[in-house]
Symmetry: C2
Subunit: 132 residues, 2 copies
């Protein structure tokens, strides 16, 4: 193979890899974002926390088309332990959510109630699964 041919082949390979890389990045940007939040709440402020969280999830789902769900549960054996399944249409929907008035109200109002917060990025097994 001539030097020119080798150079051309490398150029073609580089262009293809770059296109593939951009495609992957774009797909990630547009993919649904699915997260588990695990929280532990100060027991003396549990009822106040539940009120803040209830308002926040209801407002988010009602007002934001890109918030597909915020399904929150507390454990029967440990009522201070919450898990929230959070599904956003894409990263932009999540970025808009954390700037919304209702989220900022919740965040400010509960900052002294949350004793532990763990954010876990996940991959859904069946992305179009719903709740009947």
């Amino acid at each position: 193979m001539s030097r020119l041919n080798i150079a051309s082949s490398r150029l073609v390979a580089w262009v293809l890899l770059t296109i593939a890389g951009c495609g992957t990045l774009l797909a990630q940007e547009n993919a649904p974002m699915v997260r588990l939040s695990r929280l532990v709440i100060d027991a003396t402020q549990l009822e106040a926390y539940r009120a803040f969280l209830t308002e926040e999830v209801n407002e988010s789902v009602r007002l934001e088309p890109g918030v597909r769900t915020l399904y929150a549960v507390s454990e029967k054996q440990r009522p201070t332990h919450f898990t929230i399944l959070e599904i956003y249409a894409d990263k932009a929907a999540y970025e808009a959510h954390i700037k919304s008035a209702h989220f900022l109200k919740y965040k400010a109002g509960t900052q002294d109630m949350v004793t532990s917060l763990e954010l876990i990025d996940t991959v859904p097994l069946v992305p179009d699964m719903k709740i009947k």
Copy 2:
């Protein structure tokens, strides 16, 4: 108060408490059952496990009206760690589910793949929350 009156009052109180207790039990039987299952899977059998679980959740939601969702996610940082949000219409729906052919196939097929299983009974914050 006469002895008869005291006895009557106690009888009335006992009857009311019994009725209230039965009502609570009945309400629990008819209430939705919401659970988190947390599983850790043998890394060498992960793809086989994902295939079993995908079939099982799809069949359950398709065939069983009382299975409202089985929303399964795996963690991005630890792909062997799964969490499933399980919502059943009531306890009877759950009892029927664990006797179904598709659940028994999944259970038998994956028993050597699951290295840890934690079942956590929960209370939903907003029981009529959906996934848009």
